[in-house]
Symmetry: C2
Subunit: 192 residues, 2 copies
């Protein structure tokens, strides 16, 4: 079950390439996904790559599919496990706010929305998450139409925050200020 770290002298599989691709995407964006650079990163050459994948696009496609599948599983499951529906949203907000790592790929993909391959993936993921939020808002007491709009608003705020404070390094908000911001979000977006 370990084959995704750095310098393992073993031979590579397609999944290794996909994981490495996602790492590069998270660190330097989709544009920096080049096969020769990736090969160097993995300690091999292009010859290896073109055995596993027919083209560069094929790798990107596979990596995106991989990310889409193994992406949100945990968070959604954890939140749905919370018994009181009215506690789910605040908990979701706080949890998401303090896990930076999983958002890096998402943020990187937001900056790559010109690429035709990432658009449908992001569309599906965002759609699912928004719907998840909508049901959560309904369970929290909002009428359906309002719940959907609130979900859109909330998810847009999440996406925008990623762009402004994550990739763009806006005035590097302090830790306690950030916590205050999260609580402010909870107070304004979640019905009492």
């Amino acid at each position: 079950m370990n084959a995704s770290s750095k310098p393992e002298r073993t031979r590579l599989s397609a999944e290794n390439w996909e994981d490495a691709a996602l790492d590069v995407i998270a660190e330097q964006g989709v544009g920096a996904l080049a096969v020769e650079a990736l090969a160097r990163r993995l300690g091999v050459t292009k010859g290896s790559f073109y055995w596993h994948f027919r083209t560069r696009e094929a790798l990107l496609q596979a990596a995106l599919e991989r990310w889409e599948q193994y992406g949100e599983r945990e968070v959604i499951a954890q939140i749905e496990a919370i018994p009181d529906p009215r506690e789910r949203l605040p908990e979701l907000f706080r949890r998401v706010a303090h896990e930076l790592q999983p958002h890096r790929v998402y943020a990187a993909l937001l900056k790559a929305l010109d690429h035709p391959l990432v658009v449908p993936v992001m569309a599906r993921v965002s759609q699912r998450r928004t719907e998840f939020l909508a049901t959560a808002f309904r369970e929290a007491g909002l009428p359906p139409a309002e719940a959907l709009n609130r979900a859109r608003l909330t998810y847009a705020a999440y996406v925008g925050f990623l762009q402004l404070n994550f990739t763009l390094g806006l005035p590097r908000i302090s830790h306690e200020d950030f916590d205050a911001y999260v609580e402010h979000m909870i107070a304004t977006l979640i019905p009492a």
Copy 2:
């Protein structure tokens, strides 16, 4: 005062190139900004370009500066002209929501945050707009700390909305649904 249309047989200036660059950015993104393509679009060749600009990056830089300067002027002025402070924010929301054109460059630049040149520009612009929002929220009656957080939240929602519904073409929300969404935003984000 007219020199930015398509097929004017006159000779070109640096400003013409910058405007054309912004058009391309708005339509196809920063990545599609290539000098030979731009030259074709303007009916000339690279020879012309490299007389006006030292490099491709120089053009991008100049175009971004141009956009940053002549960008928001009008909106802010118009809003500040509204006498009743409590009417400014709803009016701002509705106005911004129905002017799609000016947001195209901004949306395109959001997708180009990997490029080192656009980051500082976007940082400055977003910073200024957020501060503008913050004072508006203060004038609307929110205490300073809360006003700042509400401004952050609001602007993040704006940015996220651009990404999700503009560049990404999410479930193509209908016109009346969109209006309902805007009103929901107003009701949720603006203090009564």
